[in-house]
């Protein structure tokens, strides 16, 4: 009964496991299809377990926007993201424990890639800030 955000990153993640960093553009059509089918299976399984809250994919293109004073148009910088980190998409789950959240993230990370082998993708797991429990003292 705690929500966690599972974050997929385009970049900014720790070093990949050796031999698992072949980009999707080098996969066969079937390998890509299998990968996508697996991701949908993960979402379906979480839904079936009653743990799925939300999932969205994000475009790699983003713009930094800033307030620049009264009556002046917002300042934009980009669309090139200057950050070393870039978020590709998210999944929100509602689970019983942080261990279960890690298990679900590892499942998501086990999606097949080139040669049908797991891609061992890093998934960032972030807890939601929630309501305060009533009992504190």
């Amino acid at each position: 009964m705690a929500k966690y955000l599972l974050l997929k990153h385009y970049r900014g993640i720790p070093d990949p496991l050796p031999g698992t960093d072949s980009p999707m553009s080098e996969w066969t059509e079937q390998e890509v299809a299998d990968h996508i089918a697996f991701m949908n299976t993960v979402a379906d399984d979480l839904r079936e377990r009653g743990e799925f809250v939300d999932a969205q994919a994000l475009s790699p293109e983003g713009t930094f926007v800033r307030y620049d004073g009264e009556g002046r148009p917002p300042v934009t910088d980009g669309p090139f993201a200057e950050t070393k980190d870039l978020i590709a998409g998210w999944m929100v789950i509602d689970v019983d424990s942080v261990e279960r959240a890690h298990e679900a993230a590892a499942y998501l990370s086990s999606a097949p890639g080139k040669g049908g082998r797991p891609i061992h993708e890093w998934i960032e797991v972030r807890p939601f800030l929630t309501e305060v429990p009533t009992v504190t003292e």
């Binding site: 009964m1 839904r47 377990r49 939300d54 689970v95 429990p133 009992v135 504190t136 003292e137």
Partner: protein, 377 residues
């Protein structure tokens, strides 16, 4: 004659619909009446064909309605009335609670099933209380039902588990239109009435006492107000009186448990006219009792707070060293004790660190304000 029927049929249908008959049922009735017309009118056409059709269709419709309701009554009677046999003398609510808190279920599944089956909430209400999609909650509940059906009832239910599930419901924040704390109290009342267990009464007392102070825990803007700074005029004295009475009856049974100890501590806080008049030595005694039932590090941390109130912040800080580092709010307690001991610089640094570790926005804001206050000091 076919042409005549084509004209009068729709007219009769219009009359029935205007009388309030549902369209599909009206159409059926008029079709029946038209069949009668085909059989009879060759022997002599009525003076008022539309009136004839309406009368016959109306009678057909009434026949259908009567047959339907009679059938429904029969089905309901068969469904609701138990088969003859010896009556079972037991409280079904209790059985249902034990089933919903089955050991094979995860805590969140037990909570969802309890709210649905015993609490009678809709799936939508439960989903909105826990801020998850309705489909997710529906899945959680039907999965829980399947698990319970597959596992069945094995031996007597575990009351301790039921109490923990009800406590979870009470403690859960809520974002929907259902007050989960009130719902937990309602269910705990039922449970307490159905069993003579003093711990069920202990949980009821505990939740009543905490609920009584609810109106003072946050400012209208949503900021957290710590116990010592709460406006005690906002506390619900009726609920406090009831909680204390329930607790005293339970304690008189002389079968102490975790929830009774916690309720006793809550009662001592509720009983103090001002924070300064809190009977900390007694609170500390109850924490010592409580630690004989649980080795929870959270309880150990709370005991440190009571100890510091009795023997001073330095003694508290020494006792804090025995509490594991990863216990939530440990850093906040350390900050508080350093501030009490006069080491404001360390306190400020620890408050800022505690704010980063906070599990809720309200708590984080509160701790950040404390850090900011000491930053200026």
């Amino acid at each position: 004659m076919d042409d005549l029927l084509k004209v009068v049929g729709p007219q009769a249908l219009g009359v029935l619909v205007r009388r309030g008959v549902d369209f599909a049922a009206a159409e059926d009735a008029v079709q029946e009446a038209l069949l009668e017309a085909v059989r009879r009118w060759p022997d002599g056409e009525p003076d008022d064909p539309v009136g004839w059709l309406v009368t016959v269709a109306w009678r057909k419709h009434l026949d259908v309605v009567r047959a339907e309701s009679a059938r429904r009554r029969r089905e309901l009677r068969d469904h609701v009335e138990p088969a003859p046999g010896p009556a079972q003398q037991q409280d079904d609510t209790l059985l249902l609670l034990f089933l919903c808190c089955h050991p094979a279920l995860t805590p969140s599944s037990a909570v969802a099933l309890t709210l649905r089956a015993v609490g009678g909430l809709t799936t939508r209400q439960i989903a909105s209380a826990y801020l998850v999609p309705e489909a997710t909650m529906a899945q959680r509940i039907s999965r829980a039902k399947r698990t319970v059906a597959a596992e069945g009832v094995s031996g007597p239910g575990d009351l301790g588990r039921v109490l923990r599930v009800l406590y979870l419901i009470f403690n859960e924040g809520y974002g929907g239109d259902v007050d989960l704390a009130a719902e937990a109290i309602r269910l705990t009342r039922q449970l307490s009435a159905a069993t003579s267990d003093p711990e069920a009464a202990g949980l009821l007392a505990l939740t009543l006492l905490h609920h009584a102070r609810r109106g003072s825990r946050f400012t209208p803007a949503g900021a957290l107000v710590p116990l010592a700074e709460q406006d005690r005029a906002l506390w619900d004295t009726d609920l406090i009186a009831e909680g204390v009475a329930v607790l005293q009856r339970a304690l008189a049974r002389d079968r102490l448990g975790e929830f009774q100890c916690q309720a006793a501590i809550a009662a001592l806080h509720a009983d103090a006219p001002t924070a300064g008049e809190t009977d900390w030595p007694q609170v500390l005694d109850w924490y010592d009792e409580l630690t004989t039932f649980t080795d929870s590090p959270v309880v150990a941390l709370n005991r440190v707070v009571a100890l510091a109130q009795v023997d001073g912040p330095r003694v508290g800080l020494r006792a804090l060293e025995a509490v594991p580092d990863d216990v939530p709010r440990r850093t906040a307690v350390a900050a508080y004790l350093h501030a009490r001991a006069g080491d404001l610089r360390t306190a400020g640094r620890l408050y800022a660190e505690a704010a980063r570790q906070a599990a809720s926005v309200a708590e984080r804001d509160h701790l950040t304000r404390q850090a900011a206050r000491l930053h200026g000091a």
